[in-house]
């Protein structure tokens, strides 16, 4: 396992799964259930995708941002402030999200 990203823990937990990068909120409707949502930051239009996500990773944000608040309410592991998750991760790639430590790994 190789650590490729570190950020701020927004909602604790662990998850392993396939990444789905959403770069614009108008693509958010295409998000499939059970994938790991990767995006720059979330907004209200992302909520349907966040409900379906196994974990949430964002480039920017702190522990009071939209992604952090929503993920805590849903009990979904979430790491924010990863800076370049949307650049380093590709849709379909399998990652391990350790939101107990704030790290993202690839096998």
């Amino acid at each position: 396992m190789k650590k490729i990203l570190s950020g701020v823990i927004a909602s604790k937990g662990k998850a392993e799964g396939e990444v789905f990068v959403v770069d614009k909120s108008n693509k958010v409707n295409m998000f499939p259930k059970g994938k790991i949502l990767v995006t720059e930051m979330t907004n209200p239009a992302f909520v349907p995708a966040m409900i379906k996500a196994k974990a949430i990773l964002t480039d920017i944000g702190g522990i009071t941002c939209h992604a952090a608040i929503v993920s805590r309410e849903l009990g979904v592991p979430c790491i924010v402030g990863l800076k370049d998750a949307t650049k380093k991760l590709k849709s379909g790639q399998v990652v391990i999200v350790d939101a107990e430590k704030g790290d993202v790994y690839v096998k």
Partner: protein
């Protein structure tokens, strides 16, 4: 506690809260980009209107013009803290340091009259909770795994709906939280959090909101105790998974207790449709139009305070701002408060100087 020390307590709380906020987190525009267009104008309108109302009404009557005391915190932070400095620097209007401090102290008094809710860890007195809809019935529901999932999705859908109307920056125009209240239920001590959503169908502001199935929602949640921090804007900051700690809930929609998960699911589905459409609508607006809507929502949300002329205020400020700054949106870089010392933040937000 003296009034003077209240301003210092306020500035300390504010400085600590600003440290945890990244300006880029805000949707759809960051505060600097939005507020620079009209913060001083709004402050001046508010200040003069307040001086006028003071001659005719008691403080209690003025306090009634605000939904809750968070409206006043929001006003002080977003408009008054820096606005007086801007007004003076641009020779628009001068308010002495002494009068600024007196004004802040009067706003604190209004907050206290409104619901005893000051910028401390105990935002709402337990007595205020008893005035909320549904609280008297104490008819809390113990969730199953499925109903808890529906409840959580309902909650986040409401949270999203509120942001889609009032942006991140002005979330208080549509919601507030009362907490933490230590609450005994069936002889066990819990932490009670009450979330209130109001103005959730603001058709005058956003025509698309007519499809919203709710106007006013109150949500009660009883938690096993957990560690948390709270900033001056009332945002909960915790690394714990509070979802696992919720033991009971109650939902009141437009005065009626919602008992079935199926009903909540229906509300949630419709809320998500409305908020998705509204978010996309806002995102399609050009930045200047997003700013103009922010100006409108600020006056609209204080329409009881400004009276029937609130639209005229908004139109005047909007015209003046857009004329002054031109047709091209000025993309200002945000001041990075996160990198500033607490002393520097306090100084920037202290109305008793002209530094910003």
């Amino acid at each position: 506690m003296s009034n003077k020390s209240q301003l210092d307590i306020f500035l300390n709380s504010l400085a600590k809260s600003l440290g945890s906020l990244e300006s880029k987190e805000f949707w759809p525009l960051n505060p600097t980009q939005m507020l620079a267009y009209y913060d001083a104008d709004f402050l001046l309108d508010f200040y003069l209107r307040y001086q006028h109302l003071k001659k005719k009404k008691t403080k209690k009557q003025i306090a009634e013009l605000f939904e809750n005391s968070d409206f006043l915190i929001d006003f002080l932070v977003n408009f008054a803290a820096v606005g007086f400095k801007v007004l003076e620097q641009f020779n628009i209007y001068k308010v002495s340091f002494t009068d600024r401090e007196a004004f802040f102290n009067e706003m604190f008094q209004l907050m206290k009259i409104k619901d005893g809710n000051l910028f401390s860890l105990s935002r709402t007195e337990p007595a205020a909770i008893s005035r909320l809809p549904g609280a008297k019935s104490k008819d809390f529901i113990k969730p199953t795994e499925d109903s808890k999932r529906v409840f959580n999705e309902f909650r986040v859908s409401l949270f999203g709906l509120n942001w889609s109307y009032y942006y991140d920056l002005f979330a208080v125009f549509g919601s507030t939280s009362h907490w933490p209240v230590f609450y005994k239920y069936k002889n066990i001590n819990y932490l009670l959090i009450v979330d209130e959503y109001y103005n959730q169908r603001p058709t005058e502001l956003w025509p698309k909101s007519k499809t919203s199935p709710v106007q006013r929602v109150t949500i009660y949640r009883l938690f096993r105790p957990f560690k948390f921090k709270q900033n001056v804007f009332g945002r909960l900051s915790t690394k714990e998974n509070i979802n696992d700690k919720m033991e009971f809930y109650q939902v009141v929609v437009d005065g009626k207790v919602v008992k079935s998960a199926e009903k909540m699911q229906l509300f949630k589905d419709q809320i998500m449709k409305t908020s998705s459409a509204q978010t996309k609508y806002v995102e399609r607006l050009k930045p200047l139009k997003q700013v103009e809507k922010a100006i409108e929502m600020s006056y609209y949300s204080h329409r009881k305070f400004f009276g029937s002329n609130w639209k005229k205020y908004f139109q005047t400020v909007s015209r003046r701002s857009l004329k002054m700054f031109g047709d091209k949106f000025i993309k200002q870089e945000s001041k990075n408060m996160a990198g500033m010392s607490l002393t520097a933040k306090r100084k920037t937000m202290d109305p008793r100087n002209n530094e910003f």
